[in-house]
């Protein structure tokens, strides 16, 4: 994957979009703020989110000033990822960033969404809408690297139409309290979604993920793999629901959440749920919470690797199943480096 061609920078809610390459604008690709859209495109906004699933989504709906819109027309395949950086610089600020990605029929796009903030206390209530039309393909990577004092209550709402494919990956690293709700709707027959997450808590962080896999149409597939580590006194919560509508025959839906506890004071909770209204389905859910496997540690130690180094290798390897599958290959080394830095900082918590 090439370097990003277009960068959207949002600082304290103010949006700047870099110039589109000529081949993209010629093909009708639109990357702009909502106020610059024509009426026809404007009418299509918000169809995925609707009024929003909860009060935070409704707040975003009411208060987002400059929604960023990425539109890829039918049949257009973007040859490089789009980078959206959402930074909150000013302490005391609350922001309501909105990103709408619409991939047309048979079109392809990749979006990297990087959330950051400064040192101070900030509140961010972002909402992202992903709309993948029939036969389209979208790769979406969200890297949450907010400052240590930041609070996030975010929503990610996706709709995947007939034969379309969504690869959505979440990397949760920063924030004091960071919550992200993901609602993914397999709306068209034969649609497929892979949902991945890697999250790593340290110190007093709380990381909270809530996922919904809605299967509304027949022959749809969703595959969720969330992996997390908690060190220090940090906490993580995973709550997930697979819901299979009675129309959704031939559904394959999987949900796996694995957590490693790196200190006695850390805490991880995992609550998977299934709600199935038809018989013709393959569904499974699995969740685990536990310390580093003592068998694995012994094996590495028996080769002469000290326990802290062994645990670093094991936890790094634990995340690798997710990291190597991220939808943006160019981001993989950076994510690995972030996890390694986290492991450096939590190494004292191990054992």
């Amino acid at each position: 994957m090439a370097d990003p061609t277009v960068t959207v920078t949002v600082v304290d809610g103010a949006v700047h979009v870099s110039d589109l390459p000529g081949r993209w604008s010629d093909a009708g690709v639109v990357i702009t703020t909502a106020d610059r859209l024509d009426d026809a495109d404007l009418a299509g906004l918000g169809v995925v989110a609707g009024a929003g699933p909860d009060v935070f989504a409704a707040l975003n709906d009411a208060l987002s000033a400059h929604p960023v819109v990425v539109q890829v027309p039918r049949g257009v395949r973007l040859d490089a990822p789009i980078l959206v950086v959402d930074h909150v610089a000013t302490a005391g600020l609350a922001t309501f960033g909105r990103l709408v990605v619409r991939v047309g029929e048979g079109a392809e796009a990749t979006v990297v969404h990087h959330a950051t903030s400064g040192e101070g206390a900030v509140l961010t209530i972002p909402l992202t809408e992903l709309d993948v039309a029939r036969g389209g393909r979208l790769g979406y990577l969200h890297v949450q690297e907010l400052g240590a004092e930041a609070w996030q209550v975010g929503s990610l709402l996706a709709r995947v139409d007939q034969e379309a494919d969504l690869q959505a990956a979440l990397v949760g690293l920063g924030g004091s309290y960071a919550r992200l709700r993901t609602d993914c709707r397999m709306a068209g027959r034969g649609s497929n979604t892979d949902l991945l997450a890697a999250y790593f808590g340290e110190a007093d962080q709380t990381l909270d993920f809530r996922t919904f896999q809605f299967h509304d149409a027949p022959d749809t597939t969703s595959n969720l793999l969330f992996k997390g580590a908690v060190g220090g006194r940090s906490r993580s919560v995973y709550t997930g629901l697979i819901r299979v509508d009675k129309e959704a025959r031939g559904t394959n839906a999987f949900q796996t959440n694995r957590n490693v506890k790196l200190s006695d004071d850390a805490w991880a909770e995992s609550v998977p749920n299934l709600e199935i209204e038809t018989n013709d389905v393959h569904c499974s859910h699995a969740s685990t919470v536990g310390p580093v496997d003592p068998e694995q540690r012994f094996y590495l130690e028996s080769r002469g690797v000290p326990p802290q180094q062994a645990d670093r290798l094991i936890v790094g390897g634990f995340f690798d199943e997710v990291v190597r599958a991220l939808p943006v290959a160019a981001a993989v080394p950076a994510v690995r480096a972030r996890i390694a830095a986290k492991l450096d900082r939590t190494a004292g918590d191990l054992r």
């Binding site: 694995q296 080769r303 690797v305 000290p306 290798l313 690798d320 199943e321």
Partner: protein
């Protein structure tokens, strides 16, 4: 010359004593086989020497060239020159044998830059496919590939003493030949001392054994030369087991009919 000296070793799990005083000395270049029936304590012996968690040492000593191994952490024992090839090598997703051995080199103060070439050379020697080197440790490997992988690590780390815990279980004859031959070569090339724990004599076809020890109920009952392995192959362990206690005569039934069942029973 290196000496692994086990003296009066007693150890157990959850208060139950499994090893009841083991004496065994392994020197550089020697191959000792510890054989015995299931449940005799063979695997416990290998795990206790390497310091696997869950075992409690209740007496005796284990020294490597005079260094008290039981006082060291597992990784320090490995760095002192001890190696354990596991019967069931553990799967470690996301960690490759290359990165494991690089970490071991680093901890031991060896040049990490030398590791990849050594790993490649050992892989070729043991017949371990290159494509496995960057993959997850022991994940989706066949029994034979797992044991080749263990032997590859032995070759790269070049320990002074290797404990092989049933290296001959769960693998095909080709892998068994390659692995046992590689260990045999190490005994002459680097003076490796070997403590091979096994059920079967097939391991000892390529690996030339100096002494065979028969372990029964946590004690070494008998020690002999290579011919002892052949004898066991023919006759089994029966001669070395405790005689089965005579079954007690069933107690008389106080309610039995004293006249017997009678013609109408």
């Amino acid at each position: 010359m290196t000496v692994l000296e086990i003296k009066g070793l007693r150890a157990g799990v959850d208060g139950k004593e499994i090893l009841q005083g083991i004496d065994l000395t392994v020197r550089s270049g020697e191959v000792h086989a510890v054989m015995g029936p299931n449940g005799s304590g063979k695997s416990t012996l290998s795990h206790v020497i390497m310091g696997r968690p869950g075992y409690e040492v209740t007496g005796g000593s284990v020294t490597l060239d005079g260094v008290d191994l039981l006082a060291l952490d597992t990784w320090e024992r490995a760095q002192a020159g001890l190696f354990l090839a596991l019967q069931y090598p553990t799967e470690v997703p996301g960690v490759s044998v290359e990165s494991l051995l690089a970490a071991a080199f680093q901890a031991g103060g060896r040049d990490v830059a030398e590791a990849p070439a050594l790993v490649g050379a050992e892989a070729a020697r043991i017949g371990f496919a290159d494509r496995f080197l960057g993959r997850d440790l022991n994940v989706d490997l066949s029994g034979g590939e797992k044991k080749r992988n263990e032997t590859l690590q032995l070759g790269v780390l070049a320990p002074k003493i290797a404990i092989l815990d049933e290296l001959d279980s769960g693998l095909d004859v080709d892998a068994l030949r390659d692995c046992s031959r590689r260990v045999e070569e190490a005994t002459s090339e680097t003076g490796l001392g070997v403590l091979a724990i096994t059920h079967y004599t097939r391991l000892l076809r390529e690996l030339k054994v100096d002494q065979v020890h028969i372990l029964v109920k946590g004690q070494i009952r008998h020690t002999g030369g290579p011919e002892l392995a052949d004898e066991l192959e023919d006759q089994g362990y029966a001669a070395y087991l405790d005689p089965e206690p005579e079954p007690e005569a069933p107690a008389a039934d106080p309610f039995a009919d004293p006249f017997g069942p009678g013609p109408f029973a």
